[in-house]
Amino acid sequence: MSENLSFSSLAMSPLFGVGLTLGAYVVGVKLQLLCRGHMLANSTMIAMATVGLFLTMLGISHEAYMIGASPIHILLGPAVVLLAVPLLRQAALIRSSRILIIIAVMVGVASGLTAGLGIAWLLGASNATLLALAPKSVTAGAAIGVAELLGSLPSFTTALVVMTGLVGAVAGPWIAKLSGARDERAIGLAMGIASHGQGTARALRISPVAGAFAGIGMAIGSVVTAGLLGCLAVFTR
């Protein structure tokens, strides 16, 4: 009994949470190297699956792991704020591209929402799922707020947000190039608007310009989407 108790407290300790996360990430990076950097061998995706597998094998709940992993999870907020640094480094280019940015946000938010919800509706999603899918391109924090207003489960919305981010981070550069984009501003904006922080983190690895434009796309895109859906939820109540 006491042995069980001490084991469950170890599961919630940062030693386990941070250690498992870092270890899983190293596994992901090594595997991606082994696969010669193939996009489907994405290190973040492998790390998430490795952690999930470990938790299932050891019978540890995600909530318990999350308590220990909070030192890593909590850095998300500061990381987003720090995106101001790469943005400021491209301030001149951002200023001269402002019309491009505004159009990108309008097109990106509209196309992402209609395509996502349209596909789900065509494939027979329930109304509850449609509502949970709406804020999927917004950064998790605001998406959860929108989810609560729309009456969907916050942790379910978080899962959808993370999946959306993963799709953008894994396949974003590929689909952007496939659509004919060569301009790094186009690639960055598209990834930031469609797949928030995860897309931005990936774009930062392409180039400083792609990263900065992903950051500005994420920033304006998520404020617009969250504001839009939030107002809609408030007014239709």
Binding site: I72, V80, L82, V107, G112
Partner: protein, 130 residues
């Protein structure tokens, strides 16, 4: 260094507070980003300690999503119930969104480039004829 950490924390807290005051669920961290940007905008380049902090954290930003991402496993039951529409929307919607946005911006950028580059191109042409 500590001052830079404090500055980031301040703008994150200010952003979260502003987001709550807005009455609409806006992303607090993004408001904090805009705050820090405005705060730094008077400098030509980001102050050295902030730059070092960003260059340390941002290249490894992807790892910060791992704890939340592992939670997808915890929701396989809900996702499985409506697996096709959910996966279709998440994968299809995101890819279509990226493709449409990237293609639009690329066209605009090419058009903008052509418009600004046209006078010099003409000059070059004229030079060639002469």
């Amino acid at each position: 260094m500590l001052e830079a950490v404090l500055r980031v924390t301040f703008w994150l807290a200010a952003g979260e507070a502003a987001a709550r005051l807005a009455g609409v669920p806006l992303p607090g961290s993004v408001l904090g980003l805009l705050g820090l940007y405005a705060d730094m905008a008077r400098h030509k380049a980001p102050p050295e300690p902030l730059a070092r902090l960003a260059d340390g954290l941002l290249p490894n930003m992807a790892i910060l999503f791992v704890p939340a991402g592992a939670g997808v496993i915890a929701h396989t039951d809900i996702i499985r119930a409506e697996g096709l529409p959910i996966l279709g929307a998440v994968i299809g919607g995101t890819l279509i969104g990226i493709a449409v946005t990237a293609a639009t911006v690329e066209r605009l950028a090419a058009w903008e480039h052509q418009r600004t580059a046209l006078p010099t191109a003409k000059k070059g042409e004229a030079h060639g004829h002469v």
